[in-house]
Subunit: 155 residues, 2 copies
DNA sequence: TAGAACCTTCGAGTGCGCTCCAGGCAAGCG
DNA sequence: CGCTTGCCTGGAGCGCACTCGAAGGTTCTA
């Protein structure tokens, strides 16, 4: 249960390419504005994520300021990806809760990830379908659109 | 300029598979609730689409009720597809305006469709990227997740 | 030691895409 | 004739995901 190992690289293995201007583990104490610059989120949004329970506990300096770790950046990377899929923030909060609750939620998290993956796959299929519609429409315009348009077709 | 031909099937050729329970052209005067059932949108939403300029002019019965045509359904089919891509309603309104403005907007519409297509392609790429992240995470869980989770990795 | 630049919290505001309500009209039916 | 059903309009309200402002404390640079 205790977290002894903070040097392993496996922590990073799940959040895409690690950001270039990251500090090595051990000196990874970023201010909120540094994290904002790194992630593209605003400081406001980062604090809001914390308020709604989307972040793990963020370390604080002796004066109470947030100090983000590399692991926090990894988490934000994952959140960013999930956000791109259109996953509602509430669902991500649910996942964050499972992580906080510890090992016994392992199965639930696994299932949630798999369900999310299926959702993303379905979304991709949907978009490819839409792409086909657009392709047909664009061909239509390219080939004979001008003539057909004047006949009243809804282009 | 005059719209003589309403019997051609080419009108339909751009909006995916035609809905099964459609009436043949000529008897295509659907009430708002029929269209709601056919499209999955609510009557409220259909009226709202009209208010914001997303629909062409919808025909009315002698008592002022809306009567949608097959062409209107085609248009709603396209709108539905574009909505799936995440295109903002405002952009779709812009496209609708171009259609209303007539043939001379042909080029603009063509460009807009091509830009939209590129947007969809980019979105698909993004999702595939996310899918890869999820796949890695899921493998991780499946292979050694339980052990690593107890070491403190952010899964 | 001044001032800028950063941080904190709380709470209100914004933009989008609906979603719903109130109040009223018109048609069909027993 | 009254009742129900379906439709009309204009406008208010809602949920989401931020986004920003106010008021005040702290830390860095000259």
């Amino acid at each position: 249960m205790t977290v002894m190992d903070t040097t392993g690289t496996h922590v990073d293995s799940c959040a895409g390419p690690p950001h270039a201007d990251r500090r090595p583990d051990g000196q990874d104490r970023y201010t909120i504005s540094e994290v904002a610059a790194l992630t593209g989120l605003t400081a406001h949004t980062l604090r809001w994520y914390e308020r709604i329970g989307l972040m793990p506990h963020i370390d604080r300096s002796h004066t109470g300021q947030r100090r983000y770790s590399n692991r926090d950046l990894d988490w934000l990377g994952l959140v960013g990806k999930l956000r791109l899929t259109g996953m509602p923030v509430a669902d991500m909060v649910r996942y964050a809760e499972l992580v906080r609750e510890g090992d016994h939620t392992y199965g639930a998290r696994f299932e949630l990830l798999k369900a999310t993956r299926e959702g993303v796959r379905a979304r991709i299929a949907e978009l490819q379908d839409t792409l086909a519609v657009l392709d047909r429409k664009i061909d239509f315009y390219g080939d004979a659109g001008r003539a057909l348009a004047s006949e009243g077709a809804v282009l």
